[in-house]
Symmetry: C2
Subunit: 235 residues, 2 copies
């Protein structure tokens, strides 16, 4: 029996369309509440504490999240969104290499110092709850930096296999050094720490670039990969 098929329904049931986007809205609200609960109670926050903060019964969380792991993943996504925005001048290079490095290091140290509980949640506890690797903040940030490195190494004919270890390593470096500093803040000021980290990062980046024939000036605007390719071709 032939049924006439419409590409779209003529008119939809208002009882259904009334709730359009509700799931997404609720998930955002619960993530907002979760971030506050983590800040208030620490990274070992319970689902009960998150629900209390959201003003709903705990069982309601399971209507919008497929378990605590799903919620942890959503929290990590939110943090990634924020960090990616803050580091836009690094992904879409603007300014000098030194300015970009300084922004990246400061942003990382700031996140660790000013959002300690949230940072620890997404880096450790959230991961333990089972969030997939692609939600991991460290991996996201390191991946972005690695992509930038690879692009420049490739444009100057260098060894692109250095991109990943350098990027991941640098993020790990800043992370570990800052963790230590947060546990012993009297050893030096935050500015002194940042200064050292920036210097070391520059040292490593400039040396890696030099090895691929790319002489970077720390205080001159970073050339675009296109400019580099043109420059590399004329040798």
């Amino acid at each position: 029996m032939t049924v006439k098929r419409r590409s779209v329904p003529a008119r939809q049931d208002g009882r259904a369309t009334r709730w359009a986007g509700q799931r997404e809205r609720r998930r955002r609200e619960f993530v907002d509440a979760a971030l506050k609960a983590i800040t208030e109670h620490g990274p070992h926050v319970s689902t009960q504490q998150i629900a209390d903060r959201a003003g709903v019964p705990r069982t309601r969380l399971y209507r919008h999240f497929n378990g605590k792991a799903d919620l942890a993943a959503a929290i990590a996504e939110r943090v990634i969104e924020q960090v990616v925005v803050e580091l836009d001048p690094v992904w879409n290079p603007r300014g000098t290499p030194m300015e970009m490095i300084e922004l990246a290091v400061r942003t990382h140290v700031a996140w660790m110092a000013e959002h300690a509980a949230i940072y620890q949640y997404v880096i450790n506890i959230g991961g333990e709850a089972g969030a997939s690797a692609y939600h991991d903040v460290k991996v996201a940030v390191s991946g972005h930096i690695a992509a930038l490195f690879r692009e420049y190494l490739h444009a100057s004919g260098g060894d692109t296999t250095a991109a990943e270890p350098a990027a991941y390593g640098l993020v790990g470096f800043v992370d570990a050094a800052t963790t230590r500093w947060l546990e012993h803040p009297d050893e030096q000021t935050r500015e002194e720490l940042v200064r050292k980290l920036v210097d070391w990062a520059w040292l490593l980046i400039s040396d890696t670039a030099a090895k691929s024939g790319l002489e970077l000036d720390p205080h001159q605007r970073l050339p675009t990969p296109k400019e580099l390719r043109a420059q590399h071709a004329t040798r």
Copy 2:
């Protein structure tokens, strides 16, 4: 009333002395079993799985450990013992700076590659179980390296506040870069990774040393701090 006091009991009850050292023996056995259970079941090993491996009822564990956190601490201590032994040529400097750096990097990468579950347990899960910071393997290793850096920086009149961030940062660097490599082992060989890590570590160490007036030769035996102090005094 005066009581005659003996410095030691004349003769001890054999029923008590029979069990001397038993608690320590049992703890070592249970840690041995735990390491095997972690290797077999992964870092999220349960106390039931550890007890099964030890061949005892689960409740027996609580007679020798003050909870899972205490067991995790004992496991971390065991790993620290082994790593500290393997890195003795670094703590008690023998050989050239390059040889020492290479040994440290290789040992770290080997631990991560060949004892993945144990490494992940002591770095993450074990920590989460509540083990005190001083049992943390990373802190232990980084602390050793920092002490070595501080000693040399001090002997050459340099800025000793660079010791901690450099040491902790370098361990974090190798850790993060190797974690990435383990997830994508086809990007380069382990040898290529190690080579890069050693080069970067040398770069950073030599630059930090140079800034404090200490010119290191990567392939000459590392001078002792005493030799450095004598050398520094004659300037």
